[in-house]
Amino acid sequence: MALFQLIGFGPTGWGGLLLLASLMTLCVTAVALLIGAILGSLVAWAKLSGSRILRTLGGTYTTVFRGVPELLIIYLVYFGGSSAVTAIGTAMGYEGFLGLPSFAAGALAVGIISGAYQAEVFRGAYLAIPKGELEAAQAIGMNRSLRFRRIIGPQVFRFAIPGIGNVWQLSLKDSALVSVTGLADLMRTSQVAAGSTRQHFLFFIVGGCLYLILTSFSDRFFTSAEKRANRSMPTSLGQA
């Protein structure tokens, strides 16, 4: 079968490249989730802080980056970042256009978006900590950093796992949009394979199936992570 050769691992097959591209999609999403976790915890802290300016800034961040199309944010980071890099290059005496690497631009753009969602997840997880535990920690004289390390951090992490799982799934699908910058992720590779073999239907089905495999495996991963994090908790309704 010619079709099976096309998606196989032979010299004319695209199988190896597609698997490599799936790995690239996972890498972009993982780096984006990490960037998003850093941005998200900063924004969550700003939104929970007493200062009105910080609260407004945090609120603006989450409203803007959850309300504007992902594609537009990717264009902003890719084109805006490239002109910034070019400006720096010109200042350092380099003539001509410098592009931002598409991996960096893509991971940063998806990270900024996932940061907005993660901020809400972290904020909800912090608010889920019983007030009495924070007061008890204060009462026995724990200072801020100790309180964070012993009481807040572990519990926020535990409560946030289901939400982080949802954000991961969103980011995995958003990462397909990074293909517009030319990064050889799963979307882009399926597109190239479809175009050069003129078998559009076949390759977009195969690409879609690989995305389905990625999303269902990560779903399973996050379910078991949630179970593990909650192993010391009494079981109640709605738990994984």
């Binding site: 309300g67 504007v68 594609l71 949009l177 479809a194 559009h200 690409g207």
Partner: protein, 236 residues
């Protein structure tokens, strides 16, 4: 910041707004209708229908919208029986393909939202309705649909905002809506920030208006959750 440039950009982008609104309203409408069918299959007693609905929801929620859109736009034309069928004049149009894939995708998410709405109906209310002799369509119209919709409304409004954002992908199959025009302006002028701010403002205002409308709808549909008026309303 150049005010005249921003003004011109805004004018160009606003000219593309009707296209975004058309994509959005058509896909939300058809996606909602399809979601009703899917959720009806999902909760039905028929095993085949239930498993089909489960598979549909899994596929359309688990894969990126962009790959679904490309599958429809580039993939379908490859088959002779589609190219020579009566559907081809419609399926050849990028706009029709974009609406079709947006509607198919949102139907998967919306069906799941409606199902959670259905599950939130207290069993007592269904029993009460049955005991007074309601069944079938009457039960759905008077009891199931209103209560389920009310419960589903907050999650549904999130999904509707997601749809506004998803219309941006139509620019990748050559439908010139706001994001596509913004991208063209960016590559012509290299003034990323100004163009981004204008386009972002359009989307944020649009989403704000939609959320306000949804909140108003929720308020109108839930008179029982409001406190009774403090002073009795005078009888006329």
């Amino acid at each position: 910041m150049d005010i005249t440039f921003m003004f011109e950009t805004m004018k160009t982008l606003l000219a593309a707004l009707p296209m975004t609104l058309a994509l959005f309203s058509l896909s939300v409408f058809f996606g909602g209708l399809l979601a009703l069918v899917i959720v009806w299959m999902r909760v039905s007693g028929n095993t085949i229908a239930r498993n089909f609905a489960k598979g549909y929801i899994f596929v359309f929620r688990g894969s990126p919208l962009l790959i679904q859109m490309f599958l429809i736009f580039y993939g379908l034309g490859q088959f002779g029986f589609i190219r020579y069928s009566f559907l081809w004049p419609a399926l050849r149009e990028p706009f029709v393909c974009a609406v079709l894939s947006l509607a198919l995708c949102t139907a998967g998410y919306t069906a799941e939202i409606f199902r959670f709405g259905l599950r939130a109906i207290p069993a007592k209310e269904i029993e009460a309705a049955r005991s007074v002799g309601m069944s079938g369509f009457l039960l759905t119209r008077r009891i199931l649909a209103p209560i389920a919709f009310r419960h589903a409304l907050p999650a549904y409004s999130t999904e509707v905002v997601m749809m506004v954002k998803s219309t941006a992908l139509a620019s990748l199959v050559t439908v010139w809506e706001v994001t596509g025009v913004a991208q063209r302006l960016i590559s012509q002028t290299y003034r990323t920030m100004e163009v981004f701010l204008c386009a972002a403002a359009i989307y944020l205002i649009l989403n704000f208006l939609i959320l306000q409308a949804m909140a108003l709808l929720e308020y109108k549909l839930t008179p029982h959750r409001r406190a009774a008026p403090l002073f009795p309303v005078p009888q006329r």
